[in-house]
Amino acid sequence: MSFWEVTVQLADGFGVTLLLFGITLVCALPLGLIITLGSMSKFKPLRWLVKTFVWIIRGTPLMLQVILVFYGPGLLFDWPALPRMTAVIVAFIINYSCYFSEIYRAGIESIPKGQGEAGQVLGMTKAQIFFKIYLFQVIKRIVPPMGNEIITLVKDTSLARVIAVTEVLKAAQDIVGLKSIIWPIFYVGAFYLLFSGILTLLLNYAEKKLNYYNG
C-alpha cells in the first residue's frame, strides 16, 4: 500500500483521536474546577462525597471506566446503551476532570494564605479574591503538571479501542494485520510524537509567558 492509501484509510482514525482529545480537554478543564470546589467545600458531606469519587476514578484504570460507561447502564438498569463514541467521551471527561481537579487543588493550596487575607482586609469579595488574586497565580503554578496530563491524554486516546471505537492506532493495527506491513505503526507513532511535540512547544511558550514574575 502506498503512503497515500494508508493515510486515507487512517483519516477517520485521526479524526476520532483528535475529536476525543479536543472534547475531553475542553470539557474536563472547567469541570475539573467544579470538582475542585466540591473537594474543598466547607460542607463536609459534599467534600467527602467528591473526594471519594475522585479517589475511585483515580484508583481504577481508565479502560475499566470506558467499559463501565458503555456496558453498565444497559446491564445494570436495562437502559439503552450510549453510542460507542459518546461512551468513550463521557468516560474520558469524567476521568480527566478528576485528574485536573487534583492539580487545581494542589495549585490553590500552594498559594500562601496571606494572599487571600490581604484581599480580605482590602475589602474584596470571595469571588474577587479567587478571580483577581488566586486564579492567575494558580494557573502559573499548574501549567507544568497540566502539561504532563495533557500529553498523557494524547496517548490515552488509544484506549477507545476497548469498546471498538477505531481511533488512529486501531486503524493502523487493522492495516498491519490485513496487509502484513509494519510501517503504518511507525507512521502513527510519528503522528503521536508530532502531536505531543506541538503541545509541548505551546505549553513551554505559555510557561515562559507566565514567568514574567517570580513567586
Binding site: A118, Q120, V121, L122, G123, I133
Partner: protein
C-alpha cells in the same frame, strides 16, 4: 469618648486561650505601639480587629459606633464593610506578585468603588472614578518614595520597598485606623529604617495607627502610647516614658531587660 474603644476581647484556639480579655482605647491621630514577646497574642489581637479572626467575646467601637460585637453574627457583606474601618500591613507584605506596584495599590479601590458599588455607574462615571483612584495611587507612591518603581513587580523590589508598597496599598482604602503587624520583622536590618521612616511620616499626617513591633526605639520615640502584652493580657499600658522608664509590672521589667540585652 475615645476614637477606638476595644472591650474585653477574648479569643481561644481550641483549648489555648490566646486573648484573655483585652481592653484598651485610643484617640484619633494617636500611634499605639504594642510590644511583647512572641506568642503573647499580638498578631491574634490585630487579626480580631481586622475580622480575620472572630473574637469569642468582647466588642469594639469607632467613634461610638459598634463595629464588632461577639454576641452578634455578621454576614460576609457586613464584615467587608466593617473591616474597611481598619487597614492591615502584614509582616510578610503579602503583595500580589502578578501585579505591578501601581496595580497592587489600585486593584482593591477599583473593585470596591466600581464593581461593588451599590448604584449602577455609567461608563463615564466609572472612568472618572478610575482616574481618581489612579491619581491617588500616584500620590501614595510618592508619599512612600516609590514613584520610580510604579511599574515594577514585587519580585523586582527589595523587602523594604515591597513593604512600603504594602503600606500605600492599605492607605488607598482610606482606613480610619491602620494596623501594622511587625512591619519590619521580615526585613534585613539595613532596610528597616526606610519603612519605619514612612510610618513616622504618617504620624505627621495625623494617622491613627496601631503598630505591633519589636523595634523598641521606634516604640519609644514614635508612639504616643505603648501596650505591653504578655500571655494574652495587657500587662502594662502608658506613655513610652511610663512604660520604658518606669514599668510597674515585673513581667514588663523582665521583658525590657531582655530586649535591651539583645542590643
Amino acid at each position: 469618648m475615645a476614637f477606638l474603644d476595644v472591650k474585653n476581647i477574648e479569643k481561644s484556639f481550641g483549648k489555648t486561650d490566646v486573648l484573655k480579655g483585652i481592653t484598651f482605647s485610643m484617640e484619633k491621630g494617636e500611634v499605639l505601639a504594642i510590644i511583647g514577646s512572641s506568642g503573647s497574642g499580638k498578631t491574634t489581637l490585630l487579626r480580631c480587629i481586622n475580622f480575620l479572626e472572630t473574637a469569642d467575646k468582647g466588642s469594639f467601637t469607632i467613634n461610638g459606633e459598634t463595629i464588632f460585637d461577639a454576641q452578634q453574627s455578621y454576614s460576609d457583606k457586613e464584615k467587608r464593610e466593617k473591616r474597611l474601618h481598619f487597614g492591615l500591613v502584614f509582616q510578610q507584605f503579602n503583595l500580589f506578585p502578578q501585579y505591578t506596584a501601581f496595580r497592587n495599590i489600585t486593584l482593591a479601590p477599583g473593585l470596591m468603588r466600581i464593581k461593588n458599588s451599590d448604584k449602577k455607574l455609567s461608563a463615564k462615571e466609572k472612568s472618572a472614578i478610575q482616574d481618581e483612584i489612579n491619581n491617588e495611587a500616584l500620590q501614595l507612591l510618592k508619599s512612600v518614595g516609590l514613584t520610580e518603581k510604579k511599574d515594577f513587580y514585587p519580585c523586582e523590589l527589595s523587602g523594604g520597598q515591597q513593604q512600603r508598597v504594602a503600606i500605600a496599598r492599605a492607605l488607598a482604602m482610606k482606613p480610619d485606623i491602620l494596623c501594622f503587624d511587625e512591619p519590619t520583622s521580615a526585613l534585613d536590618p539595613e532596610l528597616t529604617g526606610e519603612v519605619l521612616r514612612v510610618i513616622r511620616e504618617l504620624k505627621g499626617d495625623d494617622r491613627t495607627m496601631i503598630v505591633v513591633t519589636h523595634e523598641m526605639n521606634f516604640a519609644k520615640n514614635v508612639a504616643d502610647k505603648v501596650i505591653f502584652m504578655a500571655d494574652g493580657v495587657i500587662e502594662e499600658y502608658g506613655t513610652p516614658a511610663e512604660v520604658f522608664e518606669n514599668p510597674k509590672s515585673e513581667k514588663t521589667k523582665a521583658f525590657l531587660a531582655k530586649s535591651l540585652e539583645k542590643i
